[in-house]
């Protein structure tokens, strides 16, 4: 049996989603019937650090050093990240289906 996937969440304390993202990941994976990854949360709290790390908003999900859901035309910023649900609505979290699909692509075979 392979080790669980490890996911790094880059977060900012000024965004309320950051405090609940671990539970959201677990619930989303549970509902999709896939193993929950191991979650590590790292906080970014200054503009300088956001720019240095190319942080485009909280939460950003990183697996093996790669943004799980790459942002298009989003400059680094200390902010909440804007996602779009599959019906087009703005959201501070990704569409669960997009998250699960991206996670499944990164899962060890």
């Amino acid at each position: 049996m392979s080790d669980p996937l490890e996911i790094l969440v880059l977060g900012w304390s000024g965004c309320p989603t950051t405090g609940t993202v671990r539970e959201w990941i677990q619930q989303t994976c549970s509902e999709a019937g896939i193993p929950a990854p191991s979650v590590h949360i790292e906080y970014i709290e200054t503009d300088a650090e956001a720019h240095r790390r190319g942080f485009v908003g909280s939460p950003t999900f990183v697996v093996d050093g790669v943004d799980l859901l790459p942002a298009v035309d989003s400059p680094p910023a200390l902010s909440c990240r804007l996602y779009r649900l599959r019906d087009g609505r703005p959201s501070p979290l990704p569409d669960p289906a997009d998250f699960v699909a991206a996670l499944s692509r990164r899962a060890p075979a």
Binding site: G14, C80, L82, S91, P92
Partner: protein, 182 residues
Amino acid sequence: MGYAIDEITEPFTLPRAGGGEVTIDWGAPATVLVWTCNHCPYALAWHDRIQRVIEDYRPRGVVFAQINANDPDRFPVDSMAAMEGRVANGEFASDYLQDAHQSHSKRWGARVTPDVFVVDGEGRLRYHGAPDGDHTDPDQNARYLREALDDVLAGRTPLRQKTPAVGCRIKWIVDDQPDPHE
């Protein structure tokens, strides 16, 4: 720390996206101020619901203003030019004002986007908080705000006068504000 519920507030003037200035005073039976911005997913998730409240309550004499206080130097997406772009695109049902110096935002105690304030015809703060209880559910239809307005227009004290405002922390020029989620 901002106005308290039932405290008398002071009129103020801010520049408006599209040109000119707007003075917010208390000549209407109720006035609604919504701190919002151009990039916060919470503000955008609630945006359409708030515009519908404006369309529904303006005929009853309620005055609305939406205010962007984010530091445009740190967040160019919240610059006056970007605000004017959204106004020109028809995205706002009320005046969209900029508090670039942030003094009014601090005086009011706005902390996140969106942050909603309802003031009665005497200038008394009657509601402060979220538009409704769930940014993910459009069916909530800005219920907290609508109920507060119905009460104020009927001359009643709103049943719910303060709720937790949920959203992105306002981007202060000097980030010296407390974490709203602590």
